[in-house]
Every structure is written in structure tokens, then in C-alpha cells.
Amino acid sequence: VRLFSTRLSTALSAVSTRRRSRFAGVVVMLLGLMVTGGTYAVIAPAQAHDEEFSQELIDQGRHLFLVGCASCHGKNGEGVRTQAGTQYGPPLVGVGAAAVDFQVGTGRMPLARPGVQAPRKDVVYTDEEIRALAAYVASLGPGPYIPEREQYDPTEILEADDPERTEAIVQGGEFFRTNCTACHNFAGSGGALPQGKYAPSLDGVSPKHIYEAMLTGPQQMPVFSDDVIKPEQKREIIAYLKSFQETPNYGGATLGQYGPVSEGFFAWTVGIGGCVAFAVWIASHSTRSKKKGIKA
């Protein structure tokens, strides 16, 4: 773009030299700037959705940020390092509104205490406050914006008629098993990671937050950007998860759906343990009477 505008300016300068007007240089420079700015505005990355947040909202978000977030993330979201040089709170420049909406909207932020992983807990801020915080953090640098409802809402897929519904859910299942099950388990029940970290269960997580997690890669989770896993494919993954969670457990109690380990553990402790306890209970109760009066 810059190259293009420079060439344009050069071309226009050539014209102006011939006309020899006093203001020609200034006019041409202004024209060049307008062309540059205008072209940038047209082809700028779609992620910079700053226009949807008003300055008032950003100011409100900044106020909330200074009270609730700045102690770890720095007064301008630049992050805080400890004296030992380790990261206390990461910088938030460029994480985008989607990351704020996910982290604060699922209660992970604000952290109750530092640890290996931020757990999901009760949400502290109201929806409007979360939006204000997101607006402020988005104003720090371009990052993923909060997805629109039509991007993440799987209702359309789930209410579609077959075979479209089944095809979309089957495709979502393939994406899920390829990209997500390594950490989140085949049923989305979550799983352990090294050193006390874990992949959380996906049960009861809202479609918007699942979408935002794929988009932003919170904590140890990798990013699954829209360029590689398309928004439509993300929506199919969410539809697969929701249809899976709505399906009755035909095989009986799931025992957490952690696979053969939890099921085997249950069989050995509760099943066989119960049988042993029952046998001990029977053997410890004699049917004989020790009462003196009863004699054959």
C-alpha cells in the first residue's frame, strides 16, 4: 500500500511540477495521505473491529481494568514480571476482545490466586462489564474479536433436516477427534496434562466460549485459527459436542466417560468390593442361638 501511494504521489508530483502552483505540493501530499489511509481502511484486517466499541465503553473498561486487572497485567496491559524474571501476569496487547470474553466470561479471570492453571469458576463481572473490559483490551492492539452469534450457534445445524444434520455432525466429529480428543478426551470430559495442568471438561460450556477458546488458545491450549479450521467447521465441532451431550446414555451410567480406567476402577472397588463386603456380612451373622432356654 505504501509503495502504491508513493508511486501515486510521484506521478502526481510530476503533474504538479508542470502546473507550478504554490500549494500543489501540499495538496498532493494530502491527496497521497488520503489515498493511503483510504486504501488501508478498505483492506485492513477484519479483526480490527474497533468501531463496534464506543470510546465511552473503552474508558469504562479501562476504569474496571485498573481496579481489577492491573495488579497482574500492568496499568496499560503490558504485563508484569517478577524480580526473578518470571512472568507474573502476561501482556494483553493483541490478545483481542475474544480472549477477554472467554477468560472473564468463564470466571477464569480474575484469578483467585496464582497457580499452574486458571480454573473455571463463578463469573465475577456482569455481561456489560465484560464487554467494557473486552473493549479496552481490544483497544490495546488488534486481536481476535468476539464471534457473532451466527458463527458459533449450532442451533441451525441441530435443527436441520437429515441428511444435512447428520453430515455436519459427522464432519464435526471428525474434526473433534482429530484436533481435540488428544487433550479433552473422546467424550469431551477433559484430561490431565503435565505438572498439575489439565484440559477442562467441555460439558456445559457455552458455544460462544468453545468458539473463543479455539480462536484464542487460552493457557496451554493451541490456537485453531479461522484460516485453518474455518468458522463453519468450528460450528460443526460445537454442533457435534452439543448433539453428543444431548444423546441419552444408552449403555447406562457413564462414570465420567474417562474410559476403561475409571470403569475398571469402579468394577474392582465398588463391584467386587461390594461382593466381598456382602460375603463378610453373611458369614459374621450366625443363625445359631446362644440363648440358654433353647435346647433341642
Binding site: F175, N179, A182, P194, F224, D227, V228, I294
Partner: protein, 351 residues
């Protein structure tokens, strides 16, 4: 020992002359209420019959449940569980349990309850029987002349040793040797790295820092002139089991390139085999902040910023890295096949 065997011999029945621990005798017999009270016995009888009756009811309910509840397309449910599955299990389990409880109550309350002393004789055969057996064996050896004619004995041993040879020879026909199949994958220079499932090609700049892509060679999605997939069925699965890769993107300055691997990454994107070098589990459990890749089977951990080196667990080899470059359209392609065999170690690989 000799004194002991003398005593045993004296008794003749194999029991010691004197009991090592004094025999306390049979404990005092306490009768059961059902032994002395006919009304209690009658109650116990009804109780046991009730259990057996409940078992019959459960069995009948099993049959009823079998024909009542829908399975398949429009499955009936109870409390969110499959109705057929739950009721069949419950009714049959209870039917067995009630037979068991009834049988135990029967044995405890009504079956004969008198103490019995059962004497056991010596387990060993009498001395005369044992001597006769040894004599018969020796007679057999003498009659067979095997002791006097060692040629027969030795040639028989030789025949028995060689009879296993056909089995060894026939084992060679179980299949051809693997050749260099374990050393090669379908990756070749210029082959695109595409998204698993969708088959879409990938550009390095479309990936974001911290991104993970489960990827495959493009040939798995390619079709021949007749529109048929080039790889399908078992052949596809076998080729996939070796050629599956993961792409990850990190900050270029965080990558420590191994010797000779300086140009294997494209803009912070590196490509590694998805097959664990321990026993071949597929791994894509990548932590984007630590850049560690964890195998869920046995917790082998590979550091993808440092040539896939093993930093924890039973794996003995680094994860093989696929050299990457960009084609003229900017899509990620392989520079070559893997430079070392992927997956677990094998006999011929040595080292």
C-alpha cells in the same frame, strides 16, 4: 528326622503318635431357632420361597422388558439412560441375586446343622506300592535294552531334535521381509502439507503463534485419472500410520534449530511426525506455552522448540522432524521425506 519317621512307622497310618497341639474337641452345639421352633422353621421356609419367587418375577420382567422397550432408531430412555439396557441388566442381575440369597438362607436356616468330624488318611501310597512301581520301571528299562545299546538311544535323541526343523523352515513362509518399508513414508519433495479431515492446504502466515494443525500429506486426498482415491482402505491406513504429522507455530526466535536443520522451519512453523518414538501412539497433545508435546500413552514428552528432543518418559529417540519449505503459491510443502525412520525402534534399525 529319624525319630519322627520311627514314630510315623509305629502308628502305621501316617499320623503322629501324639498330636502336636491338643485336640480341643468339638465346640458346644448351639441349636438354631429354626431347629427348635417349628413356627420359626415355617417362617424361614416362606422367606426362602419368597426369594426364589422374586427371582422368577424378575426373570419374567426381563422377558417383558426385552419385548417392551424400543432400541435402535427411536430408543426408549429412563432417567437419560437406554431403557432396554438398564432394565435388562437390573432384572437379570436381581433374578440371579435372589436365587443366591434364597440358597444361602436355605443353607443357613434349614439344611442340616450338625458338626461332623472327618478323619483323613495319609496322602502317600503305602511303602509296598511304591517299591513295586520302582521295580516295574527298572524292569522296563532292562527289557528295552536301551542301556546296553546306546546307538538306538542316541539316534532316537537325534530324531527328536530334528523333528522341530520343519516348523522353523515353514515359519519363513509367513510373509516377505519388510524391506525398507519401515524407513520410508509417502512424503516426497514438494508434497503439500494439508489439513487432516478437510484436506485444505496451509500457508505459514495463515497460522498464528501457538497454533497447532493436525496434518497429512496431500496425496491422501488426491485422486487418479478415474476419480478414484490413490490411497484407500488398508493401504491408506498403513501409509497414514507412518506419514501423519503435526504443524505448530511459535515465535521464530524461540526455535533452537538442530545442526543441519537451520532451514527446516518456515516463519516459525515446524513440522514433526505425529507418531511417538516409544511404541507408536499418535500424539498431538501440545502445550502452546511450554512447546512440550506429551504422549498420552506413557507420558513421553518431546520439546518441539529443540528438535523434538525427549525431555521425559520412556521414549529413547527424538521425534523425527519433516523439513518444510513454501511452494510458489506460498503453501507449506515438504523439502523431502523424513531423514530418519518414524515411529518406534525396530530390530534392523540398530544403534
Amino acid at each position: 528326622v529319624s525319630q519322627h519317621s520311627d514314630e510315623v512307622a509305629k502308628r502305621g497310618d501316617g499320623l503322629p503318635a501324639e498330636e502336636p497341639i491338643p485336640n480341643p474337641g468339638v465346640a458346644e452345639h448351639h441349636p438354631r431357632p429354626t431347629d427348635v421352633d417349628p413356627a420359626a422353621a415355617k417362617r424361614a421356609e416362606r422367606q426362602i420361597a419368597t426369594f426364589f419367587g422374586l427371582s422368577s418375577v424378575c426373570t419374567i420382567l426381563f422377558v417383558v422388558a426385552y419385548f417392551t422397550f424400543e432400541i435402535g432408531e427411536d430408543t426408549d430412555t429412563i432417567f437419560g439412560y437406554g431403557a432396554s439396557h438398564v432394565t435388562l441388566g437390573l432384572t437379570f442381575g436381581l433374578a440371579l441375586l435372589f436365587i443366591g440369597i434364597g440358597a444361602i438362607q436355605w443353607a443357613r436356616k434349614l439344611m442340616s446343622d450338625v458338626e461332623i468330624v472327618e478323619a483323613r488318611h495319609n496322602i502317600a501310597s503305602p511303602e509296598s506300592d511304591r517299591q513295586e512301581s520302582v521295580a516295574m520301571l527298572n524292569q522296563g528299562i532292562t527289557d528295552s535294552v536301551i542301556g546296553r545299546r546306546p546307538l538306538i538311544r542316541n539316534s532316537l535323541l537325534g530324531a527328536l531334535a530334528t523333528i522341530g526343523l520343519p516348523a522353523v523352515v515353514a515359519l519363513r513362509d509367513l510373509g516377505p521381509l519388510p524391506g525398507n518399508k519401515l524407513e520410508e513414508t509417502v512424503w516426497e519433495p514438494g508434497m503439500r502439507v494439508v489439513n487432516d479431515v478437510s484436506g485444505a492446504p496451509i500457508k505459514a502466515r495463515e497460522m498464528e503463534i501457538g497454533q497447532l494443525v493436525n496434518a497429512e500429506p496431500e496425496i491422501f486426498f488426491a485422486v487418479n485419472d478415474e476419480g478414484e482415491p490413490i490411497y484407500e482402505g488398508v493401504e491408506l491406513q498403513q501409509a497414514k500410520a507412518k506419514a501423519a504429522v503435526i504443524l505448530v507455530k511459535m515465535k521464530p526466535e524461540e526455535i533452537i534449530p538442530g545442526p543441519g536443520r537451520e532451514d527446516w522451519a518456515v516463519g516459525g512453523v515446524v513440522c514433526y511426525s505425529k507418531i511417538c518414538t516409544h511404541v507408536g501412539c499418535p500424539i498431538s497433545l501440545w502445550e502452546q506455552q511450554t512447546h512440550h508435546l506429551l504422549c498420552p500413552c506413557h507420558q513421553s514428552t518431546f520439546d518441539l522448540e529443540d528438535s523434538g528432543k525427549v525431555i521425559f518418559g520412556p521414549a529413547a529417540r527424538s521425534l523425527p522432524q519433516l523439513p518444510l519449505m513454501e511452494d510458489e503459491e506460498g503453501y507449506l510443502v515438504a523439502q523431502s521425506d523424513f531423514t530418519e525412520p518414524v515411529g518406534p525402534s525396530f530390530w534392523e534399525r540398530g544403534e
